[in-house]
């Protein structure tokens, strides 16, 4: 087949489009000048300024705590939900459960955030709980929308799974819970890890929902960044961005190398 030049050129331009802004962001984080678009000499002073800013550090720690907690809750609830939806034949409320868990995938963040905030306000009025909003309410909100993604990932892995293994264990007399912990869980472990990481990233990344459900004094990292950006570009945001991008790039590259090195094993279907 004859190969044209059109596709490679357009694809290359596409990759430049994907990476040029990120690269310029990193380059200008080492800029001496306060202007983010004019080069004024090499400097790492913005990184120093970043680490001297307690507001950014606190927000970063809060975001990491929230992300870890909500990813874990979402993983447990989402896995249970995926098992219920793909392994149980029929039960009361199956359609409702399926609908409710997939709805957050198409629901705009502004609606999710608004509805949860109104719920928390109403609950506080009626039960006195949660008293005020902050870390706990953000964790609840993030767990709810991350759970949808976990369910999708785990359910698709469960439906690919060779069910004869589970059936064999059951025939040998293992109770369903034992089948799950000894057979299913080890097989779907990679899907669980990737959905935990996905939830962690989604939580770390969320600005809109967190802005609705957080209270005064508990600002997540995206909220702090957003309020800084609204005032215009500032080099310490560039420094922060470069750090995040560096950590992520390193993680993804290591994961990819591990995956490429490992000979691809395919379970016989």
């Amino acid at each position: 087949m004859k190969r044209g030049l059109f596709i490679p050129i357009v694809a290359t331009l596409g990759f430049i489009f994907l990476y040029a802004p990120i690269i310029s962001l990193v380059v200008f984080s080492f800029n001496e000048s306060k202007l983010v678009t004019v080069w004024g000499g090499f400097s790492t002073k913005w990184y120093g300024e970043l680490f001297a800013n307690p507001q950014v550090l606190d927000a970063g720690l809060l975001s990491l705590r929230v992300a870890a907690a909500s990813a874990t809750i979402a993983l447990i609830l989402g896995t249970l939900c995926a098992v219920a939806l793909s392994r149980f034949r029929r039960f009361r409320g199956k359609t409702l459960l399926g609908g409710m868990v997939s709805a957050p995938l198409v629901m705009p963040d502004v609606i999710t955030g608004l509805s949860l905030l109104l719920l928390f306000v109403a609950m506080e009025e009626v039960f006195g709980w949660p008293a005020g909003r902050g870390e706990l309410t953000i964790i609840i909100a993030h767990s709810t929308f991350c759970m949808a993604y976990v369910t999708v990932v785990v359910a698709s892995r469960l439906s690919d799974l060779d069910q004869s293994l589970e059936e064999a264990a059951q025939d040998l007399g293992a109770i369903p819970a034992r089948v799950f912990f000894d057979i299913t869980l080890p097989i779907i472990a990679p899907a669980l890890i990737s959905s935990w990481l996905l939830s962690f990233t989604l939580s770390l990344d969320d600005l809109v929902i967190a802005s609705f459900v957080s209270g005064p004094g508990s600002s997540t990292l995206p909220m702090v960044i957003f309020s800084k950006i609204k005032l215009g570009v500032s080099p310490d945001v560039n420094a922060l961005a470069s750090l995040i991008i560096g950590v992520v790039a390193l993680g993804v590259i290591i994961a990819t190398i591990i995956q490429l090195r490992r000979p691809t094993k395919k379970a016989p279907a």
């Binding site: 994907l18 709805a103 198409v106 608004l114």
Partner: protein
């Protein structure tokens, strides 16, 4: 080991005894037997122990909040905390009175800001989706036709930005698009201004003119398109790639043998076969783009109307909770419900 025990399952005591005879240590305690006993004692079968936690969680934190939004959308806005009137009032005599205020919804239809915002959201999402398709399709095609090793690396390059912060990726474009930003400076350094002058001289008789550098790109609709395409490009490329990688090269060869030019082959073979990928990718860009708040706020101008932004302003700036709730309900009805129906229909087709 007795037959009965064998049938009942690998009881912990049997396993321990067998391990002891083989000279192996006791196994660690595992929780399922205990959990099961407890739950059965409480009258919850194993299945409900799996179903109930996610079901209850979603009822409390997904369904009830939506009902609360509906409730507040029908109540009256007041100055106070919380800034709305209760729907149910109980008089001293004990009569329960419920007042439904349709005023918020009537307000939505009277002020054309809201209708304009809906239409503008749909327009911006649609244009961005088409742009993302135009950029993403060649990239997905290129990746699908690359060698095995290159393909993995290219796919990683597509996914990599997704794992970094969304907000910071949008932020990166501010420095790029702004007046005398990176794009303007680069174009100027390349001498594009001379090219524009020359073109303008040629176009002058037609009455057309290209604006001189620096170009205002930030705080315009154009900035919003760029932001959406940039953010959601991986969601366009991945389904297209999964589809295109399955494309049988023999079909393309057959088409070429029959004398079709590459473009003709693309139009009558590749494109129709990749339609499921095109639809899936477009949905994945279009759906989140409609409700987008951050991108129009940071890259759009004051005149860039999007419904997510209107809801945000109504809530945070005007502190009008009932109107914000009414906007949310209208948004659900107009945008989300049709999408869910469409998705359901699509799933039904795929399953068949």
């Amino acid at each position: 080991m007795g037959e009965l025990e064998r049938r009942r399952g690998f009881g912990a005591d049997v396993v321990t005894a067998e391990l002891a005879t083989a000279g192996l240590p006791r196994p660690v305690w595992r929780p399922w037997g205990f959990l099961r006993e407890r739950l059965t004692m409480m009258g919850i079968g194993g299945r409900w122990a799996v179903i109930l936690p996610p079901l209850l969680w979603l009822l409390i934190f997904f369904l009830i909040p939506l009902i609360v939004v509906i409730k507040i959308a029908f109540s009256e806005s007041v100055v106070g905390q919380p800034p709305y009137m209760p729907l149910l009032t109980i008089s001293p005599e004990g009569d329960v009175q419920m007042t439904l205020h349709l005023s918020n919804f009537i307000f939505l239809t009277q002020d054309h800001l809201y209708l304009d915002a809906y239409l503008s959201s749909l327009k911006i999402a649609a244009i961005s989706t088409i742009l993302a398709l135009l950029v993403g399709y060649p990239m997905a095609y290129f990746i699908a036709r690359s060698g095995d090793r290159a393909r993995n690396i290219l796919l990683m390059l597509v996914i990599l930005p997704f794992w970094s912060s969304f907000l910071l990726r949008v932020y990166a474009w501010i420095g790029f698009l702004k007046n005398n930003g990176v794009i303007d400076n680069t174009l100027e350094a390349l001498g594009v201004q001379h090219l524009i002058d020359a073109l303008n001289a040629a176009l002058a008789p037609l009455g057309w003119a290209i604006p001189p550098l620096p170009w205002a790109m930030l705080y315009t609709d154009f900035g919003v398109y760029i932001g959406i395409v940039y953010t959601y490009l991986p969601f366009m490329i991945l389904p297209l790639y999964t589809n295109l990688v399955k494309l049988d090269g023999a079909l393309l060869e057959a088409s070429a043998d029959l004398g079709a030019k590459p473009f003709r082959t693309f139009l009558s073979v590749t494109l129709p076969l990749s339609m499921p990928g095109v639809i899936a990718g477009s949905m994945l860009v279009f759906i989140p783009a409609i409700g987008e708040y951050v991108i129009p706020q940071l890259l759009g101008g004051p005149s860039t109307l999007m419904i997510g932004r209107v809801l945000w302003d109504e809530f945070f700036t005007n502190r009008d909770w009932p109107t914000a709730s009414a906007v949310a309900i209208a948004m659900l009805v107009v945008v989300v419900v049709p999408l869910m129906i469409l998705q359901r229909a699509q799933n039904a087709v795929v399953e068949r």
